[in-house]
């Protein structure tokens, strides 16, 4: 276990390093770094001074070293637009993104797993088929278009829900959240549903496949032969066993929910990190773009690392897999 842990940790470190190099080369080496990092409105004298201040006259390897040192200490430059630390700016928007992502995940799990179980238990019934049809549509619909349709229907036509912003926020442990007030909740509803739809379809398909596979297993037949009630067989014996792969997927998909939040946040003007990224790209606020990319990459590497470790703890074959595989 410990060897596997160290092995995965080293691998995560390498990925982070490679990603930082790509982001660095992308922003600093392609094109003119002076133009990319210095406010376009600055004059010649200011440019020359900033070039030296930012160390852009130094050789590229030294510049990368400086960038790395800054990144490790949390210094990823200052935003041109806001004039504050780019990292602080992103962290101040993080609660909104996390709240949206969590809400979407909760919706996907609360509806996806029961619907998937129904579809798996009654695959040939009308309801089972309808659930699958809905999940295929959910897969095909591009997230941003669903967002537009939601706005068109609930905000413009019916006027039931607001179409942008977070609404009223309340402090929970010092973090502003929307879901505790009626106004905030009404703002959260549509974006969360929009973001949840794709994962909902995924969970329906996954749960259905798991149920269809488990239902044929001997222990289910045995439980039934023992005369256990249907509720108990499905609710305890089956659910427990289908949960392992489902929990793994939920963990892995959480990162992708944060990535997809970029789209949802832009549509619903949800003031999170994704909207900040798109705004920063449009305003050429490059330090914020770099900081965002570094934060999200770190988050991803961390999630992947955590999922792998938890998985290897749940299933010993994973960490032993390479040696026990049959002499390759």
């Amino acid at each position: 276990m410990f060897t596997y842990f160290i092995h995965r940790l080293t691998q995560s470190g390498v990925v982070l390093l490679v990603m930082s190099l790509i982001v660095f080369l992308g922003v600093f080496a392609i094109g003119n770094p002076v133009e990319m990092l210095i406010n376009p409105q600055a004059d010649e004298v200011e440019r020359a001074r900033a070039t030296i201040a930012l160390g852009l006259d130094k050789p590229i390897i030294e510049q990368y070293w400086i960038f790395l040192k800054g990144a490790v200490t949390g210094d990823l430059g200052k935003s041109f637009v806001y004039g504050t630390s780019a990292l602080d700016l992103i962290m101040s928007k993080m609660p909104a993104t996390l709240e949206l992502a969590f809400s979407a995940m909760v919706i996907a799990v609360l509806f996806g797993i029961p619907l998937g179980m129904i579809a798996g238990l009654k695959p040939d019934s009308l309801i089972g088929r309808s659930i699958m049809a809905i999940s295929i549509i959910g897969f095909s619909l591009p997230t941003f278009w669903v967002g537009l349709i939601l706005i068109m229907f609930f905000a413009v036509q019916l006027g039931w829900l607001p179409s942008n912003g977070r609404g009223e926020t309340t402090l929970l442990f010092g973090i502003p959240v929307s879901f505790l007030s009626a106004d905030g909740l009404s703002h959260l509803m549509m974006p969360a549903l929009n973001l949840a739809l794709f994962k909902l379809s995924l969970l329906i398909r996954l749960t259905r496949a798991q149920v269809r596979e488990t239902i044929l297993q001997d222990y289910i037949k045995f439980a039934r032969a023992k005369g256990l009630s249907n509720t108990r067989v499905i609710g305890v014996h089956m659910l427990k066993n289908i949960m392992i792969p489902i929990v793994t997927v939920i963990g892995l998909e959480f990162g992708s929910v944060i990535a997809f939040a970029i789209v949802t946040e832009s549509i619903f003007a949800w003031p999170g990190t994704g909207k900040l990224l798109i705004d920063s790209i449009n305003q050429l606020d490059r330090p914020v773009i770099v900081a965002y990319l570094m934060v999200i990459v770190t988050l991803f590497v961390f999630i992947n690392f955590a999922v792998d470790i938890i998985y290897s703890w749940l299933d010993p074959r994973v960490r032993l897999g390479t040696t026990a595989g049959g002499g390759h």
């Binding site: 990925v15 941003f144 990535a259 997809f260 790209i281 990319l293």
Partner: protein, 291 residues
């Protein structure tokens, strides 16, 4: 009567009515995209044909000059139907082109990994694994945020996110093929390695690849639309469906739904018809499901 393999394939494919509907829709979409210049009532790029006074007309509404626009007009008085036809052309073109490039790159790397094994395999597959652990949209966004927008950059971004899927699929298929006797026979005949890999193994690896490629075209189209919607994809001079939808988003709030809605519908029909065809292709080509 002896059935040809192609006919047998077709009969199996035609077993699903839904897949036939998908195929029909897909053929229609491709036809419209190819024939856009002849089918469109108006050339949406020809500014002399546009009249600002015709701007934001609702579907079916009559303009000052007495023209009716079937799906309405956008803010610049552009006929939405023509815009969608040309947009479909751009979206499909980018989707197919990026898939062809990604497939070729993935094919070469997947084959190399499977045939040579050892450190070549480890290196290529490690890169594939790491790349696939990040969502496609994130990688595409990173690339476009760094490179800026443009048709070529969108294609580069789409190829970069897609090649790994093909590499993985080809490797898995090629590993199975490599164990087979015909490869052994070819080796005994002292054929060159390139010939064995590309003349003999490659054709046998194609079926799973076709399925993945079909699904990926739909993904590519959807991803391009999303990127363009965010303002990071296609430039204004090459309006894809995503850009048309993005353009109409501003007017959605005032109830002028058609500028966004109809291009979105076209996108949905395209993506869904490809998915329906891909689903059935997977069933027909997967020998495990054969009775």
């Amino acid at each position: 009567m002896v059935e040809s393999p192609l006919k047998r394939f077709w009969l199996e494919f035609a077993e699903s009515k839904l897949a036939l509907v998908g195929l029909g829709l897909l053929l229609l979409v491709v036809f419209v995209a190819l024939a856009a210049p002849w089918l469109s009532p108006q050339n949406p790029f020809d500014l002399s044909q546009l009249d600002l006074l015709d701007g934001k007309l609702a579907p079916g509404e009559k303009s000052m000059a007495g023209k009716t626009f079937l799906l309405g007009t956008d803010d610049q008085g552009r006929d939405m139907l023509s815009g969608i036809f040309y947009g479909l052309r751009t979206s499909l073109g980018v989707g197919v082109l990026s898939t062809v490039f990604a497939l070729s790159i993935g094919l070469v790397f997947g084959m190399l990994a499977a045939y040579f094994g050892g450190w070549v395999d480890t290196l290529i597959m490690r890169v594939v694994d790491i790349q696939l652990s990040f969502p496609a949209i994130l990688i595409a966004l990173i690339l476009l945020a760094v490179f800026g927008q443009g048709v070529d950059k969108v294609i580069i971004a789409l190829v970069t996110v897609q090649w790994a899927y093909y590499a993985r699929t080809v490797r898995a298929a090629a590993l199975v093929e490599r164990q087979k006797e015909y490869v052994e026979a070819a080796t005994v005949l002292a054929l060159s390695q390139t010939r064995i890999v590309f003349r003999h193994m490659l054709p046998n690896c194609l079926p799973p690849l076709i399925v993945v490629a079909t699904v990926q075209v739909a993904h590519a189209i959807s991803l391009e639309a999303t990127l363009s919607f965010l303002g990071l994809g296609m430039p204004v001079t090459e309006p894809s469906l995503g850009l048309l939808i993005s353009n109409g988003f501003t007017y959605l709030m005032s109830g002028k739904y058609w500028i966004s809605f109809y291009p979105g519908l076209a996108l949905l029909i395209t993506v869904m018809s490809i998915n329906l065809v891909a689903d059935q292709l997977r069933d027909v080509m997967n020998p495990r499901l054969k009775r």
